[in-house]
């Protein structure tokens, strides 16, 4: 590997790093404390940054990107370090506590570009959760985020192009690449595998188990699935995964569009934005007949209405301040009014075009009788009920056993060992008159496996049927070429990125964010770290949304890498820092 060449060029540098390291040993060395320490310690005015990420067991690619960045930050005279945390701790630091300078991670994104509203709108800068963890605020970007919601079709596409251009200039975060999703399955026990993503609701529909097979053995490399089933938890999962199996939503995304799920049907009428008016979308939603939650209580329009109210304020108005959920924040933010017409029918009114509005149909429908009871119990036991936003008991509890209305119900779990779900026989997908493939397999057992290589080996040795977690690029060569083993491949909407904490120096300044973006050689990372199993990108949205000016042309069109083939041109990079107003001391260290 040729990794060194550009870093820690002189001895003085190395020694001071060592000294800082030893000093660090004596005290706690979490990222931010480190920064404060060096600010008050000997290296008074040296710029010092800590990169938060997960260890290789959590995401091998992320830690390699982080070290690539760390080397290049050091090379331009910044005192850089890595702050490695477990997956849930990483999300805690980034999403809840906002305790980071910059981080490397993978964003779950969503089927619709409106997830950017949640990620970046300044209205959410002070909340905890997936809503604006970066503390980013920009009036022009807010304007673009709002504008794309008010229109549909081609007009929306144009506005999203403008939004992407704004983001590429301001760089609230720097998208690196879209990884490919690889999985392996055994086809001899269970067949009927199609292209559906196992994280989606259609993932386990229509599978055809052999006669004596009643359990699908699924492997996941993330133990959090066995610890928490709370649909609102921000830190215990990135994507929906098991929540999609346990809970239903009114509609669900399939092949890029929304299709009816718990709702039998819905009708929308949209009055698009006129000169001075907001767009309005009205939807009439009809639920399927006779659906029940896993505790035999009926699913009614009231539960849907409750879910919307609850996501907006998990304290249901009983606390001093509202406490919006740390997830699904922007899904429900266009919703202006909910009217329950009957047990099965409700009318919704949104201040948006239908594309952005319809995201509200994809949130999990929660049983009112269980969650209201939880809120009441918690409100009554404490004298001053605060319900701290994004962090209070209700949004962090493990919610085991989870009670939803989805195609699978909770059966058992053992922490860090497995989570087992069983088929919910009363689910509407099992009905004759519902035009959806039905669930044939009786049980889904998610076994926790230590890594990609060992899960592939287990599937190969008939110890499991499917690797549900995305396999890491380095392990892909070990997939055996055997007739009963299929290799599934699909593009990902998720993207690796570097996030900047815009709340604090130096990344409150967009120029600093752009300079650091120029230290990343995305093309090289895709080749070296992902073995080519990823697509480099300058934008957080896939190709179909990207305007001409931002298309990938071998390098980032806005913030190209200072150098080539992974080798940083230190002179050029340092010049760029100086041109932006940063100063170096006699030892070549970047001053704060």
């Amino acid at each position: 590997m040729h990794r060194q060449s550009t870093t820690r060029s002189n001895g003085i540098d190395r020694r001071s790093v060592l000294a800082a390291g030893v000093a660090g040993l004596a005290t706690a060395t979490s990222g931010c404390i480190d920064r404060v320490e060096s600010a008050v310690g000997q290296e008074t005015d040296r710029l010092s940054l800590s990169i938060t990420t997960v260890p290789a067991d959590g995401d091998r690619e992320a830690v390699r990107i982080a070290r690539h960045l760390e080397e290049h930050l050091e090379a331009v005279g910044i005192d850089a370090s890595l702050d490695m945390r477990s997956r849930s701790n990483f999300l805690e630091a980034v999403l809840i506590d906002h305790e980071f300078d910059l981080y490397v991670g993978r964003h779950p994104a969503d089927y619709d570009p409106d997830f950017l509203y949640e990620t970046l709108h300044s209205a959410y800068a002070n909340e905890s959760g997936w809503q604006n963890p970066l503390g980013f605020s920009s009036m022009p970007v807010d304007g673009h985020l709002e504008a794309q919601r008010r229109v549909d079709g081609e007009r929306r596409r144009e506005r999203i192009a403008t939004l992407l251009e704004g983001l590429a200039e301001e760089k609230p975060f720097d998208p690196i690449c879209f990884p490919e999703e690889h999985r392996v399955v055994r086809t001899d026990r269970v067949d009927g595998w199609n292209a559906d993503h196992p994280e989606s609701r259609h993932g386990y529909l229509g599978l055809e188990p052999s006669e004596d097979v009643d359990r699908l053995r699924v492997l996941v490399t993330d133990a959090r699935i066995s610890r928490n089933l709370n649909p609102l938890s921000a830190t215990l999962r990135e994507q929906g995964s098991t929540i999609n199996l346990l809970y239903d939503s009114l509609a669900t995304e399939h092949d890029g569009e929304l299709v009816p799920w718990l709702a039998e049907d819905w009708e929308t009428t949209t009055i698009e934005e006129t000169e001075d008016d907001d767009a309005i979308t009205r939807a009439t939603v009809t639920l399927r007949e006779d659906c029940e939650f896993h505790d035999d209580e009926p699913v009614t329009a009231d539960d849907v209405a409750f879910t919307y109210r609850f996501l907006e304020d998990t304290a249901l108005g009983r606390a001093e301040f509202t406490s919006p959920a740390p997830r699904y924040r922007s899904h429900v933010s266009t919703l202006e009014d909910v009217t329950v017409e009957s047990d099965r029918e409700l009318r919704l009114e949104f201040s948006a075009g239908f594309e952005a509005a319809e995201r509200a149909l994809t949130v999990p429908v929660l049983p009112e009788h269980r969650w209201r009871e939880q809120v009441d119990a918690r409100a009554e036991t404490t004298e001053t009920f605060t319900a701290m936003q994004g962090q209070w008991g209700l949004v962090t509890m493990d919610n085991v056993p989870a009670v939803g209305s989805g195609p699978f119900r909770f059966e058992s779990r053992s922490e860090r060992e497995h989570l087992t779900l069983e088929r919910y026989d009363d689910h509407f997908t099992r009905r004759e008159d519902v035009d959806l493939p039905s669930v044939e397999i009786e049980q889904l057992q998610f076994g926790i496996d230590p890594g990609s290589a060992s899960s592939i080996e287990r599937v190969a040795n008939d110890g499991a049927d499917l690797t549900a977690s995305m396999l890491e690029a380095h392990a892909l060569d070990t997939i055996p070429d055997e007739p009963e083993i299929d290799h599934l491949e699909s593009p990902s909407q998720t993207f690796y990125h570097v996030g900047f904490n815009a709340r604090i120096e130096p990344f409150s300044n967009p120029h600093a964010r752009r300079l650091v973006a120029g230290l990343l050689d995305k093309a090289w990372l895709v080749e070296e770290v992902f073995d080519g199993h990823a697509t480099p990108t300058a934008t957080p949205l896939p190709e179909e949304w990207v305007p001409e000016r931002l298309t990938w042309d071998g390098d980032d069109p806005i913030t190209p890498f200072f150098g080539s083939d992974g080798d940083l041109d230190v002179e050029a990079a340092r010049d760029a820092f100086e041109d932006t107003g940063y100063r170096y001391d006699d030892h070549g260290r970047l001053r704060l």
Partner: protein, 278 residues
């Protein structure tokens, strides 16, 4: 998969131990053992009970310790890497597939044999003191190790430099990861308990070299190989290994002080090992 690995481990270690009994322990000691086993067992029972309690407690504590550590432990990964990251790379530069196979074998099978065999060998001695010291030292290793694991969060080299640590055992032999994750969490690398337990056996083997000269010749190099394997395989940093050796030394010294002082016949307080330290 786990069952398969465990079975394999049991077979290999049993075979090694039988060979060890034949070559190292010898016929005469076995003959005496058949006569005296009851009294020796009685002498070793209290510390064995304590050790079992500690091991069971350890199993429970391991579920809680990582969460506690994240709350108030020190995350030292970066500090350790910054000081000695280059050393592991240097060690890795000697990587060959034969060495990887050898060190993987030592890390799994050699290590378990190293811990199991001396229990059998010292049990075959009329003097039960070495056996009691050994079991006491094991107990202390687990207790002190757990305290350090709670105070320090650190990820090993393989988690920091997955691309440079080329001889990753878990890439070459992924099945072993099923075994190791049963006994360890990836944030618990400081100190290396593999090293400290191996070094404990090594030091005691050296101390009993008059009785078991052949064992000393086997145990000391094997203990050193275990220590090197943890670094070569990218599981531990050199600092973890040094800390492991220090821990081993402390445990052996303490065991020497403690054994015989609290005899069950004099005091009924078998106590937990923590109270013994006071």
């Amino acid at each position: 998969m786990l069952v398969q690995v465990l079975l394999q481990l049991a077979v290999v270690v049993t075979l090694l131990t039988l060979a060890g009994i034949a070559v190292i322990v010898g016929r005469y000691r076995l003959r005496d053992t058949r006569r005296e086993w009851a009294s020796r067992l009685r002498a070793a029972t209290p510390i064995t009970v304590v050790l079992i309690v500690v091991l069971l407690g350890n199993g429970v504590a391991r579920q809680v310790v990582p969460d506690l550590s994240w709350m108030f432990g020190w995350n030292l990964t970066w500090a350790i890497y910054d000081i000695e990251g280059q050393f592991i790379l240097w060690l890795q530069s000697f990587e060959t597939s034969a060495l990887t196979a050898f060190f993987s074998f030592v890390y799994i099978y050699g290590y378990v044999f190293l811990l199991v065999f001396p229990v059998v060998a010292y049990f075959a001695l009329s003097n039960t003191r070495p056996l009691r010291e050994l079991l006491t030292a094991y107990t202390l290793n687990y207790v002190l190790g757990l305290v350090l694991y709670t105070l320090v969060i650190a990820y090993g080299p393989r988690n920091m430099m997955p691309e440079l640590v080329e001889a990753l055992m878990y890439d070459t032999y992924p099945r072993y990861q099923h075994l190791t994750r049963q006994v360890n969490r990836n944030t618990n690398v400081f100190p290396s308990l593999h090293t400290s337990l191996a070094a404990t056996v090594g030091i005691l083997a050296y101390q009993t070299r008059a009785v078991y000269p052949r064992w000393a010749v086997v145990a000391v190099p094997l203990a050193i190989s275990v220590a090197i394997s943890t670094m070569y395989l990218g599981i531990h940093w050199a600092i973890d290994v040094v800390a492991g050796i220090v821990l081993a030394y402390v445990c052996v010294e303490l065991a020497g002080l403690l054994v015989g002082r609290w005899s069950v016949t004099e005091r009924f307080d078998v106590g937990n090992p923590l109270s013994r330290l006071r």
